[in-house]
């Protein structure tokens, strides 16, 4: 009897710990990233459609899968707080356009490759989790790609992509804060420069 009591107590404690830590549903988060990458590879990279259609599909997928408002706010860092609402929305707009453009090019590199998922790692931040994956390369070691996923209700969004230990969000945050620090034009100059990057022609390999 005492033993039974002990075990049920232990079970309750363990259950308590389990539910307290299970902030984000890891399996669902992983399934979400899997779905995004599969869609990207099957319906965009490997699809037999024109480049224009591919670009449109990619922009749609990218905007749906990533929370770029959230990322943009983190990326602008403390400059976000001092920016006007106009600057904020202009920044988010151009940041979104630049990312769609650069990642659609980068994503092309995954032609003929696939992602191998290897579970999740908990995050310090609330409602967030890391989904781990790797991509076998033609040469050398597989590339390590980690997805930072944010959950709100039943909705999942990617808030960071970490390739070989280098985070998209932290890199941009450091780059932009350095730019603003060294530029008298501040956030406005940054928005202008980013717009130039968006407008420059796509490099064909």
């Amino acid at each position: 009897m005492k033993k039974n009591l002990f075990w049920s107590f232990l079970a309750v404690v363990l259950l308590g710990i389990g539910t307290a830590r299970a902030d984000v549903d890891g399996a669902k988060a992983e399934a979400f990233v899997k779905k995004v990458t599969t869609e990207g590879i099957e319906e965009i990279i490997n699809a037999n459609v024109s480049q224009q259609v591919k670009d449109q599909r990619f922009a749609k997928l990218f905007n749906e899968a990533l929370d770029l408002d959230f990322i943009g706010q983190f990326v602008l860092g403390r400059n976000w707080r001092t920016s006007t609402p106009e600057q904020r929305s202009a920044f988010i707009k151009v940041y979104r356009e630049l990312n769609v453009k650069t990642w659609s090019q980068r994503f092309d590199e995954f032609k003929g490759k696939n992602f191998i998922f290897s579970g999740t790692t908990p995050s310090n931040s609330k409602n967030q989790i890391f989904v781990n994956s790797s991509v076998p390369m033609e040469q050398g070691e597989p590339a390590k790609v980690v997805w930072r996923v944010k959950q709100s209700g039943n909705n999942y969004k990617i808030v960071d992509i970490i390739i070989e230990n280098v985070s998209l969000a932290i890199t941009a945050r450091n780059e932009y804060s350095s730019f603003i620090k060294n530029n008298p034009g501040g956030v406005d100059a940054l928005i202008k420069d980013l717009q130039k990057k968006v407008n420059q022609p796509v490099v064909k390999k």
Partner: protein, 285 residues
């Protein structure tokens, strides 16, 4: 003799530069605070960029033009094989005895059956490659990294990693082999360094072009990419932070805390907090 002087100078430089320096930042989004030599670093970066543009990149493109991916993989394998003794020695120093034996075994198998390392036979047997230099050993021993430093031609670095490069050179088979030939010693060393340099540059050619094209501050991008990778790879044995995990909440208090700390120019957040705790304790006493 001159090498000895170089070694001790490097060691002294490391001590000098790291003595007053903090260890790697705990919050990687604050990396730019660790660039105390930014003006100097930017100048060297610009120099490297020009050398790369007019000399290194054209040579690398030439190398790519005259070789196939198959040939380049053979070259890369052979060069990686020459690093196995270095890995093996350093893995002993890090207490990774099993992996040290694997590295040594890989060197023996791949140097012979793998045709001078051009084919990774041991890898196919499941003997996993793990490169480890003296820098990883120092990291494990909790030797501070020091500030960010851009070296001429070698690029992003820190005092610890720069000093480790010199130590690593002594554990290379090319260095041992060159000692037997007094006449060609220097030529062998410089020749092998040049081959390594171009082979490494070739591997990063597309990636760096991508980064440069999409950066508004290429220097800052390279700096943060280098430091992020380092923070993740080099974890001190006493460190409780096994995983670099940055805060990613906005509009919530802790993000504001980071901002406030930035504004009051606190160099290292955790240390700052720790000293506060210590003051509290002192007051209690």
């Amino acid at each position: 003799m001159s090498k000895k002087i170089l070694m001790s100078t490097a060691a002294a430089a490391v001590l000098f530069l790291t003595a007053s320096c903090a260890t790697a930042p705990a919050n990687p989004s604050e990396f730019d605070q660790y660039d105390r030599f930014e003006t100097f670093n930017r100048a060297v970066f610009k120099f490297n960029y020009e050398v790369d543009k007019y000399v290194i990149k054209p040579v690398t493109r030439g190398y790519r033009a005259i070789t196939t991916p198959f040939v380049r993989e053979r070259v890369n394998n052979a060069l990686a094989n020459l690093l196995e003794p270095m890995s093996s020695i350093n893995q002993v120093l890090q207490g990774e005895f099993k992996q040290s034996a694997v590295s040594l075994g890989r060197f023996a198998v791949n140097s012979t059956l793998g045709l001078a390392g051009t084919f990774d036979v041991a890898g196919a047997w499941g003997w996993k490659k793990e490169v480890s230099g003296f820098d990883s050993t120092l990291a494990k021993w909790c030797v501070p990294d020091g500030p960010y430093l851009v070296l001429p031609l070698l690029g992003p670095s820190t005092p610890r990693s720069a000093a480790s490069l010199i130590v690593d050179a002594y554990t290379e088979p090319v260095y041992w082999a060159a000692q037997n030939d007094a006449n060609y010693k220097d030529k062998i060393m410089w020749g092998s360094a040049a081959v390594v340099y171009i082979a490494v540059r070739e591997k990063t050619l597309d990636l760096m072009e991508d980064l440069e094209r999409n950066s508004v501050d290429y220097y800052a991008t390279m700096r943060t990419a280098y430091l992020q990778n380092r923070a993740k790879k080099n974890v001190c044995i006493n460190s409780d932070a096994q995983d670099v995990n940055y805060d990613f909440d906005f509009g919530i208090e802790d993000e504001d805390e980071v901002f406030d700390a930035e504004e009051t120019a606190a160099p290292v957040l955790p240390q700052h907090k720790q000293s506060d705790i210590m003051i509290d304790k002192a007051e209690i006493k």
